[in-house]
Assembly symmetry: C2
Homo-oligomer: 364 residues x 2
């Protein structure tokens, strides 16, 4: 944990006052914005998230706004999923790649209109790639980062809390679909999505005017539901196998390696397609696996080597103790020679070697 | 100042042990890497920098490595300066833009060979723009971020310290030129450059093996020169008018607005050229100015509005008290109606209004 100065370059969000008032204890930075990491400790935050409902400042999930006559064509170029099949109220998780088939981001595309899309990005200036492609081809689109701040409502009581504010309509929103609903006469895009496995919504709040009023209403309306301010939880997201771009994958990895090959199915000529199809035929040489680790382990600041018979066969990129499963849960990238479920490995932590084993799947 | 967790996504550098040992008191994050912001307080760091010599961990200045048959063509597309005129040992400050002529970064290009360049970037994933252009056009180049960590030696005694380690040859390196010099038999690229007005060098350290040995040698060899671990200094850089991408300019700004129009002179058809030439003819509507502010001001976390007769005519993006000049020195973006030297304005700080005036130039 280090002290980091806030400047114009390192941004607070429209919800930061609420986050501070709730007693945030540490942050991470994500797209140069503060993203809370912890409030009452990972463990307490985790138990609460699995039982009740939380309000998360995820304004750092910035939007790349693409609009214009060539918007759909540009989306076809950068999306490995067939955008033409997307319903008018749909969101698509799209692993985006460069021509070598290496992951540049793992955003969610939101279709606002036939000629208007948002790409809701993980950490990284994917907007620059989109601009580069568009500029090189001279496409007729405008591309910008709008003042849109996602607010996530996550946890098993999310439907109940949201229904009190937006009406029972929210209950009918299907997974990765959205509705435009009204808060104090102001229309907001509300999607059933979010970075947890506990269910919930993401509200795309435009501008600052309704940001804290919505926040305050959620907190006061949900008092009897034991609503709390929260954030993506390290333990819960590893249990659920939710990958973090920059931690569990980066520009060195392919969609097949991170288990996203199934999303690469567009019949169109998207960027990276040749590399994706070549790797599909020969199979990836390594892939993401759920890893259980024995003993006590330090906070995972950097990748930890995974070894078999003293030789490196992969690395662990996220790891933490899970109270519910009584073991350290981890995400690792493992060579195809050692990725079968049940394979015994060793992890080299800063505190020494630990026994580990490849799991059949994540803890869900 | 906020607590930020270090993870695989938020990186330490190959020099972080040296930075910690020197008692860093706060950081900023830059290209998702720790960049020290302060050691013994801005004021003490500042006086020392102007008098002696400092060693700076600026590993966060990442390189975009571009190599291949089309590398020079790609550089011609993204550089507003005529890359064909670049000497074999030269570095160019290049304001890079999208097709709308809006600044994407303000990096330094380094020519390694006729078909091999580094773009040493300010904060932001400019590598994604370069990849986007290359992928869209199908250029024959490889683009990656190498494991290269710049180390800056800054201050009036820089030549003396560097000569003790790399030999008197360093004294002959001209401004924004480089030489390949040996440290313990290992060749390093040493350029006369750096983010201060006190003179000095940047050493591009490849890999980790020689990083801390070089650091330690600089510190021990320079003891009688009163060498210290330092970092880009907020006061000194504002006095000198050194702009910070993300603070003083961003994707909304043009090169003319930030005073970099003179660097946009390539006769080739670079990206953004039409927009640049159009604005050159009509003149920018706003431009960066040195601003002096009276009274005491709070730390500049966000932009502060600049007002004339109660109406906003610009904003201050960086500001701090300068002991040497006895006033608050600031960088602001000012409308062309109010940018003449001597114009009296008001600045709206979090602690209230302050008098300000447009200066003829920066404090150098």
């Amino acid at each position: 944990m280090e002290n980091v100065n806030i400047t114009k370059r390192i941004r607070r969000t429209h919800f930061s006052l609420g986050v501070q008032a709730a007693g945030v204890s540490s942050y991470t930075l994500y797209n140069r914005m503060l993203l809370p990491a912890e409030f009452d400790g990972y463990v307490d935050d985790y138990h609460h998230l699995k039982k009740h409902v939380q309000v998360w400042d995820v304004a750092c999930e910035r939007q790349v706004d693409i609009q214009g006559p060539d918007a759909a064509h540009l989306m076809d170029l950068i999306s490995p999923r067939d955008m033409r099949k997307m319903a008018d109220d749909q969101c698509y998780y799209i692993p985006v790649m460069n021509r070598q088939g290496r992951m540049l981001n793992d955003p969610v595309a939101v279709k606002l209109a036939a000629d208007h899309f948002w790409i809701s990005i993980a950490d990284g200036d994917f907007i620059q790639y989109v601009m580069g492609v568009s500029d090189a081809l001279g496409l007729d689109v405008t591309i910008h980062e709008p003042d849109v701040s996602p607010l996530a409502i996550q946890g098993p009581k999310s439907d109940d809390l949201m229904a009190r504010i937006f009406g029972n309509e929210v209950r009918d929103i299907r997974f990765f679909r959205y509705k435009r609903l009204s808060f104090e006469g102001h229309e907001m895009l509300v999607a059933r999505s979010g970075y947890s496995k506990q269910g919930g919504f993401e509200i795309y709040v435009e501008g600052s005017e309704y940001a804290m009023p919505l926040w305050d209403r959620l907190m006061s309306t949900g008092e009897d539901l034991q609503v709390r301010v929260g954030c993506p939880n390290l333990i819960e997201r590893i249990e659920g196998g939710l990958l973090s771009y920059g931690n569990d994958m980066n520009r060195d990895n392919t969609p097949h390696e991170v288990g996203l090959g199934r999303f690469c199915n567009s019949p169109l000529d998207y960027i990276g397609k040749t590399a994706v199809e070549t790797e599909r035929n020969i199979g990836p040489s390594q892939q993401i696996r759920a890893i259980a680790i024995d003993g006590s382990i330090p906070f995972c600041e950097t990748a930890m080597p995974l070894l078999a018979d003293g030789k490196q066969v992969g690395q662990v990129t996220s790891a933490v103790f899970s109270p519910d499963f009584g073991t350290n849960v981890a995400i690792g990238m493992v060579a195809n020679t050692h990725w079968d479920a049940g394979t015994k490995l060793e992890v080299e932590t800063l505190d020494g070697m630990r026994s580990a084993s490849v799991q059949k799947g994540f803890w869900i």
